[in-house]
């Protein structure tokens, strides 16, 4: 709800909603100004009353115009929603509009004559000067009309097929994240934890657990929201984050901001993420992503510099890493996709031999439910699969530590 309100606020601030609106409200403001100015500038009571009657006809005309448009739009909407609709259904929408518009124009011409007869030329000039000084008067004069910005090129609809999706959600689209394999959690690998949406089970055998100090079996669940604020700018937050076992506790909140640049055939984006303080203080994860969406096959690669920097109260030596994940997505059919992941990561540059090559696989099913798109997804990953140059010994593969994530994400249009 808050995100919807935020999106609305941004659209209002950027003039988006008013840009999309019809001209009725602007005309109503102009008529109100005409009425006010006529009351002030027309001295003779009788002529003033006649002029105001003429203006009332304009106001009635405007109400009729708006009613006509609303009826026409409702009629088209009804025809669009009916499978059996024929040309006759559509014609039935436009024919009355034409008749009513002609009659409205005639009545407005008559009101115009009445106004001209009631008001002297000098008074008309004064009224016109007041009204034309208003910014709304640009509507009446094409020479003063602002040059409209070109329409946005990115569709504001939910992107359905996984391999066709861009790195950020389109404007006005909201995603409820409770599942892996989404863009906003791609590459969210911090020095001390890996963050994904959904319910996660991370396992490592007891010897590894003893060595790393992490529990052998760890359950987390994380959920949050992503919102396309502008055509290529997304904000996301995993704010319902809990460790379920071995001990319940609240996990840090992850917040990310992504700016995307779309090119022919690929997208580039810059993302900054941060985590609220956990055991290792604030976490930051700035980086860049490159994506190649496609009809069946898509690839994305990222480069991030994750770090955990402590807090003012509990300073620590900053832990800085490097992470370059790679994900390939293939849509077997439009609704079913599989993924394979790898890349390289160096969780802590200060530690020798911490270079890792992860390996992961995922799958998902995308379903359209009413007006919403739902991704049911799961992934299995070995986050420390290959250690090419460990501090001790030679290169080794490790299948003992793995992470399973399952969940579902839901997408809908906010407005």
């Amino acid at each position: 709800m808050l995100w919807v309100a935020l999106a609305t606020a941004i659209m209002l601030l950027s003039g988006e909603l008013s840009r999309e609106a019809d001209d009725g409200a602007t005309l109503a403001r102009l008529l109100a100004a005409l009425r006010q100015s006529t009351i002030q500038d027309v001295a003779d009571a009788e002529r003033r009353a006649a002029a105001l009657r003429a203006l009332a006809s304009f106001e009635l005309g405007l109400a009729a115009y708006r009613r006509q448009l609303a009826t026409f739009k409702a009629c088209i909407t009804a025809a669009d929603a009916k499978y059996s609709a024929t040309r006759a259904d559509y014609d039935a929408c436009s024919e009355p509009l034409e008749r009513e518009r002609a009659s409205l124009r005639a009545s407005l011409l008559s009101a115009q004559s009445e106004y001209e007869a009631a008001v002297t030329e000098a008074e008309r000039t004064r009224v016109a000067r007041t009204v034309l000084a208003l910014p709304e008067a640009r509507l009446l004069d094409p020479a003063r009309a602002p040059h409209k910005a070109p329409l946005p090129t990115r569709s504001r609809a939910i992107e359905g097929v996984m391999s066709e999706r861009h790195l950020t959600l389109p404007r006005n689209v909201v995603g409820i994240m409770y599942g892996p394999l989404s863009s906003s959690t791609f590459g969210q690998r911090f020095p001390s934890r890996i963050i994904d949406a959904g319910t996660t089970y991370a396992h490592q055998d007891q010897s590894l657990a003893d060595a790393t100090g992490a529990p052998a079996n760890l359950w987390n669940t994380r959920a949050g929201v992503r919102v396309g604020m502008f055509d290529d700018f997304e904000v996301g937050a995993l704010f319902l984050a809990f460790q379920l076992a071995p001990k319940f506790r609240f996990d840090p909140v992850l917040i990310s901001f992504t700016q995307q640049f779309r090119f022919a055939g690929f997208d580039l984006s810059i993302r900054t993420s941060f985590q609220t303080p956990g055991d290792t203080g604030w976490g930051l994860n700035p980086g860049a992503l490159l994506a190649f969406p496609g009809r069946h096959l898509a690839a994305r690669v990222g480069f991030f510099v994750p770090m955990e920097v402590g807090t003012l109260k509990h300073p620590i030596a900053p832990m800085v890493g490097l992470n370059a994940p790679l994900r390939v997505t293939y849509n077997l059919v439009p609704s079913v996709f599989v993924t394979a992941e790898s890349g390289v990561s160096y969780d802590q540059l200060a530690l020798k031999g911490a270079l890792n090559v992860p390996l992961g696989f995922g799958a998902g099913y995308t379903v359209l439910a009413g007006s919403k798109v739902i991704d049911l997804s799961a992934s299995l990953a070995w986050d420390h699969w290959l250690a090419p140059a460990p501090a001790q010994g030679s290169a080794r593969l490790d299948w003992r530590a793995f992470r399973v994530v399952v969940g579902a994400s839901l997408y809908f249009q906010a407005l």
């Binding site: 609305t8 008529l31 739009k73 025809a79 559509y90 115009q112 008309r124 016109a128 609809a157 359209l368």
Partner: protein
């Protein structure tokens, strides 16, 4: 904590509900409906060729909506080329006829509307009733 979140949510909802949102133009509504469907058409129509054509139809509607907008601007511009034009708008919005014409502009965009109807009828010929209804529920 919970009550403050509920309060923020309620205030947000109130702000949305009370915002003086003006009705969108026809072109905006048509674009919104068509683009919403174009994004998910492949999830609904299993046959790739039909899905592609239906998607192309919805994408063409988006460009038609731009034409509708252009026609709307052109209709307003026509208001200023009418015989009752003197004096100019710049000196009198009523006597110039600009106000009346702006309130009831001439109906342009017949070609765009005609094409829209053709596209909508073609979409029906490509979709089964079930597919059509699933897409209609999107927006």
């Amino acid at each position: 904590m919970l009550s403050s979140r509920v309060l923020v949510g309620a205030l947000a909802l109130l702000a949305v509900a009370c915002s003086a949102r003006q009705p969108p133009r026809l072109a905006v509504e048509l674009t919104a409906r068509a683009t919403a469907k174009a994004g998910v058409v492949r999830l609904v129509v299993s046959d790739a060729a039909r899905a592609e054509r239906v998607r192309a139809i919805y994408e063409e509607v988006t460009s038609l909506a731009r034409e509708l907008d252009r026609a709307r601007v052109a209709a307003r511009a026509e208001c200023h080329g009418e015989p009752r034009k003197q004096p100019a708008v710049a000196s009198d919005p009523i006597a110039s006829g600009a106000l009346g014409c702006s309130i009831a502009p001439p109906l342009g965009a017949r070609t765009a509307l005609e094409r829209y109807i053709q596209l909508m009828l073609e979409a029906r010929s490509l979709l089964s009733q079930g597919e059509f209804e699933r897409l209609a529920r999107v927006r």
